[in-house]
């Protein structure tokens, strides 16, 4: 008997192998197996494996707005201007210098010379204009704000805007002239200064015109919410001028980039850069601890001290976000300024930030981070004062104020690692001064965000991480136009922010934004409460990665080495 058992086991194992073989042979032709054909990893530069939270949605910059797509695009592509590593100042990239006409309508970009795209075609003024005209002439589904998010944010509408419910009818962009091989002029319909900072966003990366055409980048059907990318530019053939080029992309497994040896600037140190998607947060941490990856983003604040205690490097990104409690003034009693002020005084923001956030988080006083120009140090402050809150409720004339307070589930954002604990703390603060709170929650995506955007939520927890280093990307996004989420119509604020956006004198812009911030915090459309510094975790051997306030949008890996 004892000898029979091993035989049986062996027989079963063989059966298993046979069935595996049969299963595979019948699928052999169909199986979409991949073959990585990268050059063998040389010792000189080595390979870095970096853990991400998901695959890129597309590598065609203009069509995405998610961080993981941006992270890849930042390595493969370059923009005309970029932000200084670790900061928000605009510095040269593919344009070595630029100047605006006195009226602020024509911007001349002097381009770097002898730059080639990764497919060998030249980068020049004609390529710049090709890219801008491509974006401006988007039709149909490509105009949807969910696809061309950054275009509509920075430039507004298109050559022929089809659906003005989705994007503004007018466009800031007018035309592009290739004055000579290395000089491109971008003409605007009205003066804008936020435009230059906007161009630093990887959405406005320069793609090879040949590759865009050859791989049918504009062949997108379906709807904005359910687009169908029929071309392969964004999935298999992203061709830019950056220090890395795509080697292989195996969705849900890994994305391998290799050094672009024809790069015009300082070449990448690494031979290969691998982004490995690991959706589960704890799994990313464990993969770092077990040595399978050498770094990852979106570190849970609760893990920071354990990781740094275990000898890993923790990099802090300078604060470039804000967490706030939003008020929808279309829903009374939030239209009553005394009620809004009562809420602001009732919230013990510093206690929450101290108890629930990492040590480097700070209490927010306005809707943009202190590192950005235009931040004002003397806005109206609403320090914790429950007695004053009670008095304000009494003065408001609203008896037993009841508020629906919304918070998201299934989400952790840099400015809101645990929304429900923020909600619980604020709810207790508000109830202590006499508010009746009706809790409302929904999964972050798509329900919560859409409820807030559609104006369904009365009071809500939300926040924002900046895309580029301009105040217009914070207070401009929130308050430059009327929005359902805020439900107010305040011409003074709208026009102050519009004027600040178009001002071309930088000193005047700073003063304009400081004044606008004061107006905003007097009006109190919501209560900003926290700025955080998101973290990256790396092994000790990884050197040269500079954390950026704008996150993956300006974190190039070309300067990174693996020891």
């Amino acid at each position: 008997m004892t000898k029979t058992v091993p035989r049986l086991v062996a027989a079963l194992a063989v059966l298993g192998l046979i069935s595996a073989a049969c299963g595979s042979s019948s699928k052999k032709t169909a199986a979409n197996g991949t073959s990585t054909t990268a050059a063998p990893a040389g010792k000189a530069g080595g390979t870095l494996v970096f853990g991400t939270s998901s695959d890129p949605i597309s590598m065609d910059g203009i069509l995405i707005s998610d961080g993981e797509s941006i992270r890849v695009i930042t390595q493969i592509f370059e923009t005309l201007v970029t932000t200084k590593p670790g900061g928000t100042d605009i510095v040269p990239s593919l344009a070595k210098s630029w100047q605006s006409s006195p009226d602020g309508l024509a911007w001349t970009f002097n381009l770097q010379q002898s730059v080639n795209f990764q497919d060998g075609t030249p980068f020049n003024a004609a390529a710049v204009c090709f890219n801008f005209n491509r974006w401006f002439n988007f039709k149909g589904v490509l105009q949807s704000s969910s696809l061309s998010y950054y275009w509509s944010t920075v430039f507004g509408g298109f050559a022929h805007t089809e659906n003005t419910n989705d994007v503004p009818a007018d466009s800031l962009y007018k035309s592009c002239d290739a004055k000579d091989t290395n000089t491109a002029v971008i003409n605007l319909t009205k003066p804008s200064s936020a435009f230059l900072a906007g161009l630093a966003n990887p959405a406005f990366a320069m793609s090879s015109p040949d590759a865009l055409t050859k791989y049918h980048a504009d062949d997108v059907t379906g709807t904005g919410d359910a687009p169908k990318f029929n071309g392969t530019f964004g999935s298999q053939h992203p061709i830019g001028t950056g220090p890395f080029m795509l080697d292989t992309f195996t969705p849900n497994n890994q994305l391998v980039m290799k050094r672009y040896d024809g790069y015009w600037g300082k070449k990448a140190i690494l031979d290969r850069l691998i982004f490995k998607p690991i959706a589960d947060g704890p799994a990313r941490r464990q993969a770092l601890e077990s040595g399978e990856i050498q770094g990852y983003d979106l570190v849970n604040p609760a893990d920071v001290s354990a990781l740094s205690g275990a000898g890993f490097q923790i990099l802090n990104r300078p604060a470039f976000n804000v967490g706030y409690v939003g008020f929808n003034q279309a829903k009374p009693p939030l239209d009553n300024p005394k009620i809004r002020q009562a809420i602001a005084y009732a919230l013990n923001r510093s206690a929450l930030v101290k108890a629930k956030y990492p040590a480097n988080a700070v209490v927010a006083k306005e809707f943009m981070p202190p590192s950005l120009f235009g931040y004002s140090s003397d806005v109206t402050q609403y320090n914790y004062d429950p007695a004053k809150a009670k008095q304000l409720i009494a003065d408001s004339g609203v008896a037993n104020p009841t508020i629906e307070f919304w918070y998201p589930t299934n989400v952790s954002r840099p400015y809101m690692p645990d929304p429900s604990s923020n909600f619980q703390a604020f709810k207790a603060d508000l109830e202590a001064v006499g508010f009746k709170i009706v809790p409302k929650s929904a999964p972050w995506s798509p329900d919560y965000v859409h409820s807030v955007d559609a104006g369904s939520a009365q009071m809500y927890l939300l926040g924002w991480t900046g895309d580029y280093g301009d105040p217009d990307d914070f207070v401009g996004v929130f308050f430059r136009t009327k929005q359902k989420a805020w439900g107010f119509d305040n011409a003074a604020i709208f026009s102050a922010l519009d004027a600040a956006r178009t001002e071309t004198d930088q000193q005047k812009r700073i003063a304009d934004y400081q004044a606008a911030n004061k107006l905003i915090m007097d009006f109190l459309p919501g209560v900003p409460y926290v700025h955080t510094q998101p973290n990256l975790a790396l092994t000790k051997k990884v050197q040269g990665l500079v954390p950026s306030p704008v996150g993956p949008a300006n974190e190039g890996f070309s300067t990174v080495s693996v020891g």
Binding site: K3, A31, E292
Partner: protein, 334 residues
């Protein structure tokens, strides 16, 4: 035998049609329908109409079903809403990962469960029996995700003996002609990749295979005990057959029938356990594919993926039935 196989294959047809109807109806029964699920709060009537038209949801139900069936027969499950990739290609790419994991888990469960059960039966009520049965009860009781997490924490994070994520080391350069990484390594003669793939398989396979192992061990024990008391076993021994021959010819063969049923059923259940295991180990198979689709409300993926897994389940059970025929000739004619 051939007749038996043909008959069983013919019986599959109504089952598969029934399955396709179930999946078709289930997706359309989502509150508000797929268009609302897709658009969420942005579901203005115009947008809903646009999406319904895009996915052909505005046509009569029977026509939708016919075109769905037509596409399904051609293995065209449409395009994922969240990744924009072809669902069929995605299934083709991910299915080998899930099968490889499930198979490894099954080899682990059967390879250890059956000997354990047989030995426990042979040592009925001895300490080995008590310990192995208590152990298997524990095995059944531990949730898959917890075990997966525990194994990973101990053997990957703390001891660094085995990898914690994926199917191969990210830096390994190799080719995948079949998508079954262990098999690929054998086919391409890549020893390093073979060791790497097997090392990656161990923890997830053990996590996923522990519950089936425990069940297989317990059923085997019960089944062997039952057969050991049969008259024909006593007669065989009385005729002077050696113990080994009796065990091989009479005990094991007869005791394996219920075990085969359980193995078949467990193979199907492994697919659901694989969802959790794949998430913990970032395995990249069908499980994580469906999990993401549920959160993204990606109905083409759900429709295609669930139907596909259901077909696999049915086919596995067919194979189990055929194995009965092999083990017990009486079944072939009934």
């Amino acid at each position: 035998m051939l007749k038996f196989i043909v008959r069983r294959l013919v019986q599959l047809i109504p089952i598969l049609i029934g399955l396709s109807i179930l999946v078709f109806v289930w997706i359309r029964a989502l509150p508000g329908g797929p268009a609302d699920a897709l658009l969420g709060e942005r579901a203005t009537p115009a947008k809903v109409a646009q999406v319904r038209h895009l996915y052909g949801l505005d046509r009569p139900l029977y026509r939708q079903y016919i075109s769905y069936l037509d596409r399904t027969v051609h293995l065209d499950f449409g395009q994922s809403i969240s990744t924009q990739r072809s669902v069929s290609n995605e299934i083709r790419r991910r299915f080998p990962a899930t099968i490889e994991l499930s198979l490894a888990a099954m080899v682990f469960a059967v390879g250890i469960g059956i000997p354990l059960g047989v030995l426990a039966a042979k040592r009925y009520l001895a300490w080995f029996d008590h310990v192995s049965m208590a152990g298997s009860l524990l095995g059944i009781s531990v949730p898959v995700f917890f075990l997966a997490f525990l194994l990973k924490y101990i053997f990957a994070v703390k001891l660094h003996w085995l990898p914690s994520i994926g199917r191969l080391d990210a830096t390994r350069v190799t080719s995948h002609p079949t998508g079954f990484y262990v098999l690929d390594a054998i086919v391409t003669g890549d020893g390093g990749a073979f060791v790497d793939a097997v090392r990656h398989l161990i923890l997830p396979a053990v996590a996923l295979g522990t519950i089936p192992l425990a069940i297989v061990a317990r059923i085997t024990r019960a089944s062997v005990l039952e057969v050991l008391n049969e008259d024909y076993v006593r007669s065989a021994r009385a005729k002077g057959m050696t113990s080994r021959t009796v065990d091989r010819r009479h005990v094991l063969r007869n005791a394996m029938l219920p075990v085969t049923t359980i193995v078949g059923l467990q193979s199907g259940l492994l697919l659901s356990g694989a969802v959790l295991t794949e998430i913990v180990f970032s395995w990249g198979g069908m499980g994580s594919f469906l999990e993401q689709a549920v959160f993204a409300r990606d109905f083409p993926v759900l429709q295609g993926g669930i139907l596909f897994l259901a077909i696999v389940f049915v086919v596995v059970n067919l194979l189990v039935d055929l194995t009965y025929g092999f083990l017990d000739p009486r079944i072939r004619v009934t």
